[in-house]
Symmetry: C2
Subunit: 346 residues, 2 copies
DNA sequence: CTGTTAGCGCTTTCAT
DNA sequence: ATGAAAGCGCTAACAG
């Protein structure tokens, strides 16, 4: 493994070939398809390779084989704790194929995504797992491409999707609050430029309307998927009258931000305000009070997505496909029946 | 950008050259060193390139130029919220060099790191930013390699380091608790296989001893850098007698886990137990009560590290260098003077 | 300023 | 089972 002391130039197949007394072709075979050479040759090549500390040049290999043995995971924000678990699911499957998993950030600007999509077209990676609903315009109609959308999605695109039914999940969250007796259920929404956010808004409205409330006019405020985003949105909502008795938040991080904003207004949770989050991050069970939320099967989302990408890479045509997994309501400490005595308004 | 309808074979320099009526060399120049060709040629090449939807093959380019235009960031656990902000600092600088930032996970097993280090030797990336203190044995003495250690480090290795003085920071945290009047200050330590954890333990002991307490025998329990790790370690510590009145935790996530464990024992924070975390994640200010902690300048850590890596890549010899940034004590709501009336033991 | 030529390191026919 | 030879797509000399 260790490069020999004074050998700056890295050993190549030729060095190994010379040392093993075979051709470069044989070295290549012995190392990547051991069954295609005689046991004796294989042995000698392996020894020679070890002795000179040979590591195949990945670029040359990829150039020749026309495949990178790497996939790219694109997330809008690496700071968002929602993604790591999905990525672990992806890695779990990817590593079996001995393909590397690279992670890239699309960032605030949707243009950044284009930049990364180029990595695919440039042959740097074999496929992309897009954990971002914002597909750049030019990419929407590139036909069959080894791209899978995970969790979030762009309704215009035709890439396969793996996700939960976000509308349905939002209905479940809202119904939970409704069942507890809440009537003023406001929504702390995510950023409005992505599909899942609208799905959740629709679900929340639908459940409200189904309960005889005015879903179309219920209070809602959008924000970024972050603690700060949740705080800001909740602050607006809690200033409204009548003040909501419950907040359905589009992510756990937003829910934590919302809880903070509520406390700053002197509100006690869940006595004065019930909160329901979304995702079920590790964090959700650890905060005080523990957060009621909708669990997304993140690890499984990642596994399934990588499995589909593999099929795509193997040339199996995957028809426009939407794989829907189940979400689950996890009731914890932030949701209770509304108190009849209104809390003091500071 | 969009591939033309029926052109499966991706266009190459030759296609562009033909179309622009120039040689492939000129295409290459026009695209990567526009100033080396005439304005007219450049124009024609650019047009031709656009028309055929040309995107240079990254592998071929890297093979020829012997550089990948990519750096690898290695983290022990992508689920740990400590890293993203550092990575953003890295990206901030890296993007100016138009080099891609890839993220890899070393995972629980130290062997995984070796695997990723191969990416460097295989020419897949130009350099590595190691955010993990566990350097694989074989890599410890590979001489001048384009590797920079960030935050955590391996004392055996000679790669440049960018970090805070963890021992000093631990002294600050402990002194804060001491100043409040605490005498039973236990330590929720991180995993014992990494240097910074020992630095912090040493600092905590030192401060205790300097205050006339028995630092060497003070209570301590290690755990993984996670909510669960903090819970488990704190649980052990809180079962001890005399029960600590304060917990200095080796990370904010551990602190949150510790707080959870304390609450489960019926302890109120900070009344019955003071807690000090480490890192100052966004989360620290959002939880209830907000967490007293030691801030690490994460973004700046990332920026500096990438700057050093750049110098390394430019061939400037960087002597074994340890760049120390300042940590800062952030006092919030989880630390107060110990109450004289002991809390009930459930 | 531009073209010709060579070759980065590997894998893959095609022979033998 | 092995070797010879070609070439993936690009850019760096070197001429001109």
């Amino acid at each position: 493994m260790v490069a020999s002391p004074h050998s700056s130039p890295k050993p190549t197949v030729r060095d190994v070939a010379r040392r093993a007394g075979v051709s470069t072709a044989t070295v290549s075979r012995a190392l990547s398809r051991p069954e295609r050479v005689s046991a004796a040759t294989r042995e000698r090549v392996e020894t020679a390779a070890r002795e000179v500390g040979y590591i195949p040049n990945a670029m040359a290999r990829s150039l020749r084989r026309r495949q990178a043995d790497a996939v790219l995971v694109l997330v809008p924000d690496i700071g968002n704790s929602f993604f790591p678990e999905i990525i672990k699911g992806i890695e779990e499957i990817a590593f079996r194929q001995r393909s590397a998993v690279l992670i890239g950030e699309t960032g605030e600007a949707p243009e950044a995504a284009s930049l990364h999509l180029e990595a695919l077209l440039a042959g740097r990676v074999d496929g992309i797992l897009l954990l971002d609903g914002r597909v750049p315009d030019f990419a929407v109609d590139i036909e069959p491409a080894p791209i899978v959308q995970v969790s979030d999605y762009d309704p215009r695109s035709r890439f396969p999707q793996v996700r939960i039914d976000h509308e349905r999940a939002a209905v479940m969250a809202t119904e939970h609050l409704l069942a507890l007796g809440h009537r003023q259920i406001a929504h702390v929404a995510g950023p409005l430029d992505t599909a899942i956010v609208h799905d959740r808004i629709r679900g929340w409205r639908k459940a409200l309307s189904a309960a005889g409330l005015d879903g179309a006019r219920a209070a809602m405020a959008p924000g970024s998927f972050s603690i700060e985003g949740g705080s800001a949105a909740a602050d607006i909502l809690l200033a409204g009258r009548p003040r909501p008795t419950a907040l359905f938040c589009s992510s756990d991080e937003m829910a934590i931000g919302a809880a903070k904003a509520a406390r700053q207004r002197g509100l006690q949770i869940p006595r004065d305000l019930s909160i329901v989050g979304f995702d079920d991050l590790q964090l959700a069970a650890a905060v005080d009070p523990p957060l009621t939320t909708l669990r997304q099967p993140r690890r499984e989302l990642g596994r399934r997505a990588m499995a589909i990408l593999n099929r795509l890479l193997d040339g199996e045509p995957v028809a426009r496909q939407v794989e829907l997994l189940d979400a689950e309501l996890i009731v914890r400490g932030t949701s209770t029946a509304p108190t009849t005595i209104p809390a003091p308004v500071p």
